[in-house]
Subunit: 231 residues, 4 copies
């Protein structure tokens, strides 16, 4: 079932590796079926080398149960499911261990919007979640990781698609998009702007970007009168 | 029309990608025709992968209108045009999102001339523009980006060819040269000297280079009695 | 003798090079025979380029004498032997000169457990040994390097397999595992988490991770009720 | 003439590029003939791409005049000559623009010996020259660069072969060795230990290595009772 989606999710997972945002078995990408009944996701702890679409796992969105696949799904599966259930415009999710984004997550600080590279994709700071409580970690950790991402999006009053990513404190980046491929794209951009932001702060701790520049760059690309790119 | 120039501009754009100063669709390179009537530039938001000279867009320098090409030109087109109109010795312009140069741009600080690698190509600090005003951003943003680059060059009393690049605050580097290829070359050097400068400042915040060393290195390569390189 | 082990040890040594944690002749990997009588190790000062399993050296664990091989064994041989003699669960050891882990070793500071990437493999800070005394360096330096690693493990009350690596002060990382390949894996992860930790501290000097997050991530992967990965 | 030496010098120059310590036409490597009458060096300002041994230039050591070759020799030729004239044990010299070593040179600070990777090749801090005076820069700059390197070696009471490299302030690293290949090797190691030192200092500004560890590592590899490597 969902052979085409499996191909796309597998390709997006392999792209994580090629773009240098994961090594070994780290990270995972998922995608959702058109009817939003099923999620296809990378298997847990399986190496990217030699991975094919046959290795992808199909999970029922509502029940969270595996529907098809020879492997157990990613241990982060419940986190992905939470996001798909709440946000109907998310069609792909990518979780990476890219060094600079992880550094901000470990520092417990969001990635500040300091330049137009950031503004072209993220309409504001990329927020970092609060720390999960002991209770939240001990019980249903992966579900609670999803919940704290959602809490952060809501608290931030950001739209999932205007800021398509969040850092989970002490953990790392989750990014999403309108397809598995687009989720990886946003994860790669997040890593790049994290590196830029870190180096900017090393040069000037008081660096900032005015809101009107953020508006301009984000909206010339994503606003209703966008003129960046082709029609 | 201008098939040879399209080939050169396309090759220079692909070189941005190969040299690691852009990813995805980021950045752009343009070139100008010998009669300075037309600019050839990368299309807006098109991926470097698979790009060919057929994808290049021809724009009329005076009117700013597209003359030929199947795509819309880069959204930074008006910035390039401003520079070509004012500086008759610029024959190629490259805009990148290279991490270290962007870090200085986001920090709002020019790249200081701290060593001979810098002095071999840039005869002084590479300046950073002032911040654009809200007005300048909201109306004719890309034209105003060109104007603030020009203002910075003039205020700095530098010659376009002795310091062939500027950082646009919160945005990133623009470099130029006597050809599209040379513009990319200068953009790559700018990234390298930005990385060297950043690391130098991490070791010694008071690092500096004496003016006579700057003079010596720049002039042994570019002065009237230059002796670096072949005749 | 031990042809299969030589193949594995050689492959693990070449992997050091491919993963970028050594250059030239730096670093070394060893493995131990099933009966724990013999160690197979890289020869001393031999380049990775063109290395084959025939170049590996077999050393008697008890006597420390070479048993087979056309080269002298790695000068770090006595360090490896000390570890194999004390820890019966170590089946492979890797020593690298990876930049970020070396930076912590040179700084004399352990790699702090600041995130889940770290917690997935190392159940706590990766400790740094004390400085060897003049006496320990002048006599039996390599044996004493082994002894100070052991002292550090014991003082830290860590288990060799829950924190499969130590930094030797002013020297660099030693990692180990249940096979030569796994030792290299842990050495590569150590380098990655060292880079993450260094960058985290540049952003926030007070960064930390709560013990319950460390527990959760380590134990969901390595505890008795582990559910990460496949059965 | 000297065809074999030209091959070696050309290969060493190409190795600079492959090891990532130069880009474009930057840097240069030279070698000296067995009778120490002639130096073979890279031509000035010629790209590494497509360079062959035919492009190498032969220079008379005593007169400094070109003896053979279709190109002008490297502009740093007088610097190389000064070193060959004074130090009879130097058979190859490499000058690079590697980022981390340049950062120390631009900072005007030597690369401190903080670990055993450094100690394996450099028996002490890699010193940085004083700033050249205006007079020294304006007249015979390249000769004076050689002289200040020699002054630094002598003042440091180091032997050219125990510390086979120096940083020239505001310029960058010069390394040497018993062959052109070995000079490049030392230049690559210098870059690596510069990167390690810079990162070490970011973690701990007071990092140091005891002299007896420096002695041990340098001497186990280069001393009269050396036991590192093969006989």
């Amino acid at each position: 079932m969902l052979e085409e989606l499996k191909e796309k999710v597998c390709a997006a997972n392999l792209d994580l590796c090629e773009k240098g945002v994961v090594i070994y078995t780290w990270g995972n990408v998922s995608g959702i079926s058109d009817d939003r009944k099923y999620m296809v996701i990378k298997p847990s702890g399986v190496d990217y080398k030699g991975m094919s679409s046959d290795d992808m796992v199909v999970v029922d969105i509502e029940s969270g149960c595996k529907v098809e696949g020879k492997w157990k799904p990613s241990s982060d599966t419940p986190t992905h499911l939470e996001l798909y259930r709440i946000y109907k415009n998310i069609n792909g999710i990518a979780h990476t261990h890219s060094v600079n984004a992880v550094a901000f997550a470990q520092a417990g600080i969001g990635i500040p919007a300091l330049g137009t590279t950031h503004a072209d994709y993220f309409y504001g700071d990329i927020p970092c979640t609060r720390e999960l409580t002991r209770q939240e970690v001990m019980n249903d950790y992966e579900i609670n990781t999803g919940k704290v991402i959602i809490e952060t999006i809501e608290k931030n009053k950001s739209d999932t698609m205007t800021i398509p990513g969040v850092l989970v404190k002490n953990h790392g980046p989750f990014a999403w998009g309108n397809s598995p491929e687009n989720a990886v794209y946003n994860a790669v951009v997040m890593e790049k702007v994290a590196e830029m932001a870190l180096k900017t702060l090393l040069i000037n701790q008081d660096a900032y970007m005015n809101k009107y520049i953020l508006d301009k760059h984000y909206l010339r690309k994503h606003g209703k009168d966008a003129y960046y790119g082709q029609d």
